[in-house]
Amino acid sequence: MAELPQKRQSLGHWPLYLLLSAATLGIALASVCLGSEPLSPAIVLKTIAGSESIDPILQQIIVDFRLPRVLTALIAGAALATAGLLMQTIFRNPLADPFVLGVNSGASLGVAIALLVLTPAGISLTAQLNLSGQTLIVLASTAGAATTLMIVLSLFRRVDIMSLLIIGLMLSYAISSLVSILMFFSMAERLQSFLNWSFGDFGNVSWAQLPVFAPAILIGLASTLFLMKPLDALLLGEHYAESIGTRTKRARFFGLFAASILAGTVTGFCGPIGFLGIAAPHLARYLFNTSAHRRLIPATILLGAILALTADLCARAPGFDFSLPLNAITALVGAPVIILALIQQRNMKRLFG
């Protein structure tokens, strides 16, 4: 452990980045190959390359079902991981996740209202607007997330950062209570559809939705480039950060905004996906042995994608007749990894001074 940083210093971090990139591509390819119908990598690659000689049914499985799912997992994992990193730095708290401001609860309230109140009441927004049920859920959860975010951020100027964390937490509890009440009064079949949403699923995003989903996330990720420097400064705490010329209020506001947009978009399209956002940044710090965001952000993006792809692959349980809820798997796969990393690194408590 003592010699490792020196060695990495001289080599630079590039080998590790290359390794992670290769792993991401490898797992992505494996994800497309494995499933209820196992396919060979050759067929998959040929299909992606646009070869005409492939069985149309296999082609459909690959192009219409597996590819969008894998792309979604990749993008969503990267987004949640980055959002988690931003939140952890901004709140200087290793337990912060992408949803500390209550974005997740807001989204679930939106979806609960749509599925448990409006639909049973016979109010069908989908019929008039000519939208699919899935699009309705996306709209409902995005609206819920955005409303919560606006409420919390409107308080941003009036309270300090620690209070904001607690306000977000309290708001989450309060909103979750509302959701519980709605669930209590709902019929079993409605409840099931809501529960299915709350388990999270990367398979819900179709080719039609990707052109909305992907750019929203990519813009969010790109904006973190401009946050690298102020985020580094925020590691020092408010006073020092300001003394080296950082506008801390502004940096925090944009950081929280970017993180919430990333997290809210993923929740909107895939449901609430826990754990990835906490786990990936810790893994990145552990592997790269740094707190500098210009190195951590790319590392976190790659690790988030890898974790999401792996969790999705496990949840689909290739070779078995069933699939598991994604949210159950993210923690099951991720928690041991984090515990291991913590045992090795030992100085977690000094992570944020």
Partner: protein, 341 residues
């Protein structure tokens, strides 16, 4: 009284510092006229709770003044954009510094933030400035060590290096020696004073260490318990009684002869002491610590101690009503006094 003559970097006129909460303001210090000039090493002293930290936070722009003028260069402090301010003013405060995973060099590199681009990239000039800063505090060997693994003294050096990397003309330090042991405190003060003079940085540092401040400061600012600020040369403030008025209390007496404070006990017994040299000084300190008072009058004293310097070794003679003893070391004398009250 203001010994500063060169053009000041920071200038305050009728400054009031304190806290504002819901329309009520609590003035901690008021009516301050201050000047900080390049190459001046100023120590800010005062008992706890007199507002040293509040003043430093206000002067560094982290806290708005309640009233009065505060100018950095020619501009009002709170109107200077943070980045420009950071190029002129750096701080070393008591806020705990991070951080799980950061080397000293990465940490010092943060001091280049006011100069680096939007994405924080460092050019050749930045890199050499970082090395110079580490070099200047003698922390080159710590460059690749993790901050979390450094000792308090090493971390303080690196913190000072980070402030140096900002190339500011002014550095404000809040108790930079607080967590250090005595040799490290002396080293730290010496380092800061030398940097101040060599690089012509204006430095203001708060301290509880009156003794070191008296030895190193070009100028002292003393906050008195009644909310006033006395400024002047250390020796002048000692001589005109300002130090005595500010720090003496029921437990502490200013010793005009020694130029330091001594703990004060109401003596119940008096002793006459004869002798000279360092032996006399330390014998006197020991007796005072044990609660004896000094007197010149043999009739008041319960016993006499005289120090004689023989061929090469000093010896102590203790004359008591019960008899006279001679001791070859101070240790033996103290043991005897402790045993027979």
């Amino acid at each position: 009284m203001n010994p500063t003559t060169t053009n000041p970097i920071l200038e305050a006129a009728q400054l009031s510092v304190g806290y504002r909460h819901k329309g009520n303001s609590r003035i901690v210090l008021g009516g301050l006229d201050l000047r900080l000039s390049p190459g001046k090493f100023i120590c800010l002293l005062g008992p706890n709770g007199t507002g040293k930290s509040t003043l430093l936070r206000t002067l560094s722009g982290l806290q708005a003044p309640l009233s009065g003028q505060l100018k950095l260069g020619n501009q009002t402090l709170d109107q200077i954009p943070p980045r420009d301010r950071a190029k002129q003013l750096s701080i070393v405060f008591t806020d705990s510094i991070p951080i799980g995973r950061m080397t000293s060099k990465d940490y010092v590199a943060l001091g280049r933030h006011p100069f680096s681009g939007r994405f924080g990239g460092l050019d050749q000039n930045d890199v050499s400035k970082i090395d110079q800063a580490l070099e200047a505090v003698g922390a080159m060997s710590l460059a690749h060590r993790q901050i979390a693994e450094l000792s308090d003294g090493e971390r303080q050096k690196v913190t000072i290096a980070r402030a140096l990397a900002q190339e500011s003309r002014l550095m404000l330090l809040d108790e930079p020696t607080a967590y250090l042991d005595l040799p490290r405190r002396v080293e730290c003060m010496q380092l800061l004073r030398d940097l101040c003079h060599q690089q012509s940085i204006g430095m203001l540092l708060s301290s509880h260490d009156l003794d070191l401040a008296l030895r190193f400061a070009d100028e002292l600012w003393i906050l008195t318990p009644d909310g006033k600020l006395a400024q002047g040369y250390p020796e002048a403030l000692a001589l005109n009684g300002t130090l005595k008025r500010s720090f003496a209390n029921e437990n502490l007496d200013w010793d005009d002869e020694q130029g330091s404070f001594r703990t004060h006990k109401t003596p119940c017994q008096f002793i006459t002491l004869e002798g000279s040299g360092p032996e006399r000084l330390w014998t006197q300190r020991a007796l005072q610590r044990l609660g004896y008072g000094m007197t010149e009058d043999p009739r008041q004293s319960r016993f006499q101690i005289s120090i004689t310097h023989g061929a090469n070794e000093p010896s102590w003679t203790l004359a008591q009503p019960s008899g006279t003893h001679t001791f070859s070391s101070l240790e033996a004398l103290i043991s005897q006094l402790v045993q027979s009250p």
